[in-house]
Symmetry: C2
Subunit: 331 residues, 2 copies
């Protein structure tokens, strides 16, 4: 595992895999968007923010209904500071981003409360496409860092972990995690799973982003999964399919969440200490208070910034600078 830590100083590529699941249409299941209509724009808008410092598909940045900003904001700062290259991968989007992006020809995922995420054959094809991509990207970078943006992704992650035989606790973008609601959806969903075959589990109760990331992992030797519970589910699926060496990096906000359970990770978990508790802005302090917490690779990317010599104080100041520019629109 130390090999992955070593490679963090080498040639790194950040791959953001984004998509949608109709599971996000269940009222109350996610706050990854200000309202139901806007949730579908969250993944493309997150990816646009990373390249442009603003969103192109919507006029503002993704936020919770009460205005907590997307973690893409933190990832943007970390990418700006580290100059790590970024490629965006569409793995099942409802709305395509207005930036250059890769596609794995994945469908939008079905609502796992009532239907399969996708057919077995389709999941297999997305994984196969991901594998081809992973093989090519591996030739270009010593280490792939993979992030995600998919509203309701912690619910599909919970269902996957349950289908694999775990008793999942899964994190949420809300401080009062709607545990009961998620549990009910997960209970309904896992009845549909016909075997422990990882592809069956992804297609029955997962989502297209999982299929894409598992595929990419199948094609590469080493990867750092930048995310919380969703990456725990993906790591557990991937280790049944590929020998790819995997570690997870996430934020301390997920690590401290009692409803998340990083102990189910089948690999080492690195925790990034992002000093948002000290911010002068309530929208950023909210992260330390249990809102949003993680996403768009924020934990993993800040870990690179910190590991490459940027102090916690400077990181906070730079995040606040971008918050002022992007959210408060100060020049």
């Amino acid at each position: 595992m130390s090999k992955i830590l070593d490679l963090m100083d080498g040639r790194v590529l950040f791959t953001l895999v984004i998509g949608n699941t109709k599971t996000a249409e269940i009222p109350g299941i996610t706050v990854a968007g200000a309202n139901m209509d806007l949730i579908k724009y969250t993944p493309p808008a997150d990816s646009e923010l990373l390249y442009h410092g603003r969103c192109l598909s919507i006029d503002f940045i993704p936020a919770t209904p009460d205005g907590k900003p997307t973690p893409a904001l933190i990832s943007y700062t970390a990418l700006r500071l580290t100059k790590i290259p970024l490629l965006v991968v569409d793995s099942g989007l409802l709305v395509k981003p207005k930036i250059p992006h890769l596609t794995l020809s994945a469908p939008v995922g079905g609502n796992i409360a009532v239907e399969r995420a996708m057919s077995y054959e389709v999941a297999k094809n997305v994984i196969e496409n991901g594998k081809i991509l992973g093989e090519q990207l591996s030739k270009l970078a010593d280490l792939l860092v993979i992030g995600e943006s998919i509203p309701a992704g912690t619910t599909t992650a919970g269902a996957v972990l349950k289908a694999l035989g775990f008793e999942p606790k899964v994190s949420s973008s809300m401080p009062t995690n709607p545990v009961e609601l998620k549990r009910n959806v997960i209970e309904q969903a896992v009845k549909r799973v016909q075997s422990k075959d990882p592809i069956e589990i992804i297609s029955a109760v997962g989502d297209p982003v999982m299929a894409g990331v598992v595929g990419i992992l199948s094609g590469c030797k080493r990867a750092l999964l930048a995310g919380g519970t969703q990456m725990v589910a993906i790591a557990n699926l991937a280790k049944r399919i590929t020998d790819c060496e995997i570690a997870i990096a996430t934020t301390e906000f997920v690590a401290k969440d009692k409803t998340a359970d990083l102990s189910l990770a089948p690999c080492e978990v690195f925790v990034s200490k992002i000093p948002l508790a000290n911010s002068k802005y309530p929208g950023l302090r909210a992260y330390a208070e249990g809102f949003v917490k993680e996403g768009v690779g924020a934990g993993g990317l800040t870990l690179f910034a910190l590991k490459r010599g940027i102090s916690e104080e400077r990181l906070l100041a730079e995040i606040e600078r971008d918050y002022e520019k992007i959210v408060l629109r100060k020049q």
Copy 2:
């Protein structure tokens, strides 16, 4: 320029930029496909062949009406031997390939005999997207090698060169280059050009692949354009927009073509000696007789194979092996 030669031993990425122009619908203008219906499948099928050794969108490989195979066959062998990573970029396709690919959100190009290739604003946007992509890919590779596949691309290249003030002779996939037909189309097209602004020229008489490649070049420091006359047109456009250091690599079949004019290249041109004249297969010997000649980066990629120690004899044997497997379908 020797810098580019030096970098050929470094970390290289082959980017295949593919698209369509409705100019290909003019009867007799191109043989990059067995018939009018099939021409639109040539770019996606070429790209599928490079990853899979077979096409997925059609049941056979692209060929001229009388059966000369696509140069993607030669590129496939060269990529297999050199292990150079490949990313495919959709820059205006009619049919999307069934492989992972990048998109620059470019439209299919208009038929320049009767209409603009695209609006100025759209061309500018494609170039902007290409620039973002070029910036990211430059961080991953020491040298970008860029190839193309777009039927009728030599005709749009001729129009661009004419609009830039040259008297173009342009190559063709046919031994009896339909020079008169092309000249008429080009004459009609250039009347539409309103200024020498490269973006105006691309949008008035160019094609979406040109916009994509010029964009990528705007974002990177050094690139090897793998192609014939089309790359000459692109290099002339790019040098008016970007400081990117450019060289061209093409096949000796283009270099020997009296109707092509590599002397219009504003940069060094490397010529790859592919020993197809010695092949036991007429379909491969045809290249040395003036058919097909170039495309899908065949000249540039074989140059890498030869430069990295693969002998001409071995290169021919490996191309013939793939010809047997892919075209003759021998096991």
